[in-house]
Symmetry: C2
Subunit: 254 residues, 2 copies
């Protein structure tokens, strides 16, 4: 059997601790090529770069692992890998992360990590976005690595129908303290923002965006938010047909 | 009855022709406040700005219309309007556009126009992303304005259950040449990229992202792509629970 090829990317940038953690997750399963943003791309969603050129740099190479930076968004990195850099090869899995911070609930929409995972799933291989609910630059990734490997192993062995994209979130804690893995649906909720207003030295007002997540269904036990709040790793399978089929028959424009 | 308040935004920037066209759509229905990006934000998806401050500027004011620019993404603009600028008021509709270029099919994921519309729908009012399938800066918006008004009118009168977000695309053509409005589902398809490779004066290689849309179901008559290709205005109701419920029972991680 040919060795597997795993594409690793993230949104925190090629030199984030979480990228190295994702490489650790992937290494036991095959050869790893990482193409990750040159700079922090948190909150970049599924954004693509339309109006400037993008620079690719090989950053390091070691046994079974090559790391590139690319000066665009996480989605740009995935496109660069599939449509140029690894065009002649077959990629068996896309692993995006390990993100510094949660991508549960509606965060899936804003997340650059999940943007890249979703993009990966468009290329005919399974994709995982893997996040740790800890924004600390020096977070402890042990549990995320251990559970990440278990999920990769089960996913690759499952023969699940494609496209298949998983949004995996790991709560803070040592691996032995976590209670296991739960397959969940995306929690309903939203962010409400508070804008910190300041003035610059020229008297121009400016704002810092800062928000708070409002969980619209804290009691629902089948959601990712519930799983995380109760010490479980959450796995939400993700698809991208956004059509609101429930609205057919209720709208008419004739 | 109190006058309606309509928030207009876009991703092409506050001085794009399409923003003025969206204001023309909105004006007959009430007072208009536009908060639009300072610079082009095409392809910015649902991105938010996390690591820099954002500047708000009033750009112009006329009878019933006020236009602001905000130095962030389309989603930032919506958040600024609801959570700060118009916090004390009730917004009755969010209208994002008129976009210079199609947001049908999977483009809904990459589109800053649709990112803003989706964000608007999180605030308890109906939202519309309105696009014209013509990238020309000086495109003819007559048909998009006429059909946009019809859709706004029907939507506001419908009493449809919230959240409600519509992805509306208008094909190129004079209003009288279009065949009407079709309620559609999102077409399945994807982009494949070609990277134009160049070298800068220092010998560093760089890439321009350029792609081609692959329609995976050109014959399906219930999709937005089919409607547009056959001279109809497409309306896709959009929701954001990305959970792939079809995968439950087919995946297990125990």
């Amino acid at each position: 059997m040919q060795e597997r090829l795993i594409l690793v990317t993230n949104d925190d940038g090629w030199n984030a601790k979480g990228l190295q953690a994702a490489i650790e997750v992937a290494k036991p399963f095959g050869r790893v090529v990482a193409v990750a943003p040159e700079t922090t791309q948190s909150g970049m969603s599924q954004a693509i770069t339309m109006y400037r050129p993008l620079f690719l740099k090989k950053r390091r190479e070691e046994e079974g692992v090559t790391v590139y930076s690319f000066s665009g968004t996480p989605v740009d990195c995935v496109k660069m890998a599939f449509d140029h850099l690894l065009r002649e090869e077959r990629i068996d899995l896309v692993l995006s992360g390990i993100n510094h911070g949660s991508n549960s609930a509606v965060n899936v929409l804003y997340s650059g990590t999940m943007g890249a995972a979703i993009e990966g799933s468009f290329y005919g291989c399974p994709a995982i976005g893997l996040s740790l609910t800890d924004h600390d630059l020096d977070a402890d990734f042990d549990a995320a690595i251990r559970y990440g490997r278990r999920i990769v192993e089960r996913l690759l062995a499952s023969g699940v129908e494609l496209p298949c994209c998983l949004n995996v979130n790991v709560p803070v804690g040592r691996p032995e303290a976590l209670r296991g893995i739960r397959l969940c649906r995306q929690n309903r909720g939203y962010w409400r923002e508070e804008f910190f207003r300041r003035e610059d030295p020229h008297g121009r007002e400016y704002f810092w965006l800062t928000g708070e997540f409002v969980n619209a269904e804290p009691e629902a036990e089948d959601t990712d938010e519930w799983a995380l709040a109760h010490g479980y790793v959450s796995v939400v399978p993700v698809q991208v047909d956004l059509t609101d089929y429930g609205k057919f028959g209720r709208l008419s424009f004739d």
